[in-house]
């Protein structure tokens, strides 16, 4: 049984072909697995080990180092709020507290505190599923997350400008 679905099996092959050593494909395959299932399960790691000629322990060893790889199921919407120094003085921690309280018992939304997102000209900043939203407030942040949940997503931002 393959963990990856059919189209991802083809993608995995294409990823492996990029590198002279298959072990290099661990991170890209972990991203692929997470895109497919929302998190990095033990089954996914076993399959990645198979594909890269490593052991599940090697894959776990590598993946456990990286904060984006979720080794537990998490919400469909991952909300990453920056509280590093520029966001700290522009209201990031208040946004984080508000979102954490608001979504404490809503399993489809995972709120996490993250380090600098490289969006300091639009501080305070957050990402929803790695799409940037800048100059947020506690209330606008909730509106943004609700936009994702209802499928009427708010515009994301490109560095220094906003796009749909």
């Amino acid at each position: 049984m393959s963990f990856f679905d059919e189209s991802n099996v083809a993608k995995a092959k294409e990823i492996l072909a990029r590198y002279p050593r298959p072990k290099s494909a661990i991170l890209p395959l972990a991203h692929l697995a997470q895109d497919q299932n929302g998190w990095l399960s033990p089954e996914a790691m076993e399959q990645i080990a198979d594909l890269t000629g490593t052991t599940p322990a090697d894959v776990l060893g590598t993946c456990s180092f990286y904060t984006m790889l979720k080794r537990r199921p998490c919400g469909k919407f991952v909300v990453s709020v920056c509280t590093n120094v520029t966001c700290l003085v522009t209201g990031g921690p208040e946004v984080l507290d508000h979102l954490e309280a608001r979504y404490a018992s809503e399993p489809d939304v995972t709120v996490e505190e993250v380090e600098c997102l490289a969006a300091c000209d639009g501080a305070p900043a957050l990402q929803v599923n790695y799409e940037f939203h800048e100059r947020v407030s506690p209330s606008s942040a909730v509106e943004i997350v609700e936009g994702y949940r209802s499928g009427t997503r708010r515009a994301r931002t490109v560095s220094g400008a906003t796009v749909a």
Binding site: L27, P28, H31, Y66, S80, V85, T86, L88, D121, G160
Partner: protein, 435 residues
């Protein structure tokens, strides 16, 4: 006061389509690659880069041509690895270059690869940069379709391809040897040098690691000629750099300026000065790893010159990030948040960094939350000295594998230098309050 837009010209001139192949081609993209391949002289590119005086824009400011010259002449394959892991707090220029001018980077990579005789380049893009990854991958596909990448580029016989690799959330992977470990599928822990990457880098092959902005500058050096480029700037800080200005300025943003401009002109002339006409209490001139400067005339009137600020004030221009704080800001709180960052991001390979950064964070936490003790500042200086002798009191000696450990001590050195009396008084008051 004006910007000197070279690397940011296309993305400023064509905000709607600078990142597309059509927008890029309509504004001169790949013309320099074409010219270089037509000329067929790999040594000439290196010569121009040498004459330009270009120094790395990733943080360390190492001369780019010199780095390339360390590759052993007869050892193949060799790799160019592009550092797009931008994670230094308050730096946001490479993200802009990836999202809004990926073709400029692709052209820079192709020209540089040709010059150093490499046929495969890897770009390590910070995991959180989903849009930057998407646009760069798209740019590479479009460039390949037009014959600017792939086999026998523009009939020159030169083959070059680019692989984009996504990181997964670890600041330390911006350190070049940790980046190589990560690219090889391991935990991103820095390597002990020697061997240096130029001799044994990716897959133990000769490797050059360069920053996004560094390589994005290369096509312009070819276009202008190295000597012309070197006329911009000041002393050994030639050309322009993009400064990411954030914090309490009225217009935070990325500004590309000729080196040699003063901090005052950048912060007041371009970034609009401080909100509500307040004063600058202090600013951090080169990313979180740098020591700090204050709002004094001596500091504000200093030039953006990498060597001058290092030699005169012991600070660095580093990654080109400038964070500005007005009088309302508590420097101890900023120091604590920086310490928390470094404690979180320490890879744990060296004991002094692994243990020391956590300890510093705890002490700064209590100091910034009204629970400090009178001896805490000296305790910090002592712990900092154990991570990295000399950050607080020269001479500096690096005893850790990478510079992250010493970077974590920068905020302590700065607190002690500029705010010692203020901090000590407050610690005495805090101790009195809960005695």
């Amino acid at each position: 006061m004006t910007e000197t837009r070279i690397v940011t010209k296309r993305l400023r001139d064509r905000p709607d389509d600078s990142w597309t192949i059509d927008g890029a081609l309509a504004s001169g993209a790949y013309e320099q690659l074409r010219a270089v391949l037509a000329k067929g002289d790999t040594a000439d590119v290196q010569e121009q880069v040498k004459l330009s005086g270009l120094r790395g824009r990733g943080g360390a400011g190492f001369p780019t041509a010199q780095k390339w010259s360390f590759l052993p002449p007869d050892s193949f394959p060799r790799y160019l690895v592009v550092n797009a892991d931008e994670g230094e707090p308050s730096t946001f220029k490479d993200r802009m270059l990836l999202e809004r001018d990926p073709h400029q980077l692709v052209e820079g990579i192709a020209i540089s690869s040709y010059s150093v005789k490499c046929n495969v380049a890897y770009v390590y893009v910070r995991g959180e940069f989903a849009l930057g990854y998407e646009r760069l991958a798209r740019a590479i596909d479009d460039a390949r379709a037009k014959g600017f990448l792939g086999r026998d580029i523009l009939g020159s016989g030169f083959d070059c391809d680019i692989v984009v690799h996504r990181g997964a959330g670890a600041y330390i992977c911006g350190e070049e040897t940790a980046l190589l470990e990560s690219l090889e599928g391991s935990q991103g822990m820095p390597r002990i040098r020697p061997p240096f990457p130029a001799i044994e880098g990716l897959y133990a092959k000769p490797t050059v690691v360069n920053n996004v902005e560094t390589l994005s500058t290369v096509p312009h050096i070819v276009r202008m000629g190295g000597e012309e480029y070197a006329k911009l700037g000041v002393n050994r800080s030639t050309g322009t750099r993009i400064f990411s200005v954030s914090g309490h300025v009225n217009q935070p943003g990325n500004y590309e300026v000729e080196l040699g401009m003063t901090f005052r002109d950048l912060l007041y002339g371009l970034a609009g000065g401080v909100r509500e006409n307040r004063k600058i209490k202090f600013f951090i001139p080169g990313g979180a790893s740098s020591q700090w400067l204050t709002g004094s005339d001596e500091h504000l009137d200093a030039p953006l010159d990498m060597d001058f600020v290092q030699q005169t004030f012991g600070v660095m221009l580093g990654s080109g990030a400038i964070m500005v704080y007005d009088e309302t800001v508590d420097p101890v709180l900023i120091a604590w948040r920086l310490a928390k960052f470094f404690a979180h991001e320490s890879c744990g390979k060296c004991t002094p960094c692994r243990e020391g950064t956590g300890w510093i964070e705890k002490v700064l936490y209590r100091m910034s939350h009204g629970l400090g003790r009178p001896a805490d500042l000296d305790l910090l200086v002592d712990v900092g000295g154990n991570i990295s002798p000399g950050v607080v009191n020269a001479p500096f000696v690096q005893t850790t594998i990478c510079p992250l450990g010493p970077s974590a001590v920068s905020c302590i050195a700065s607190l002690n230098k500029f705010f010692r009396d203020e901090v000590l008084e407050r610690l005495r008051n805090d101790a009195g309050a809960h005695a």
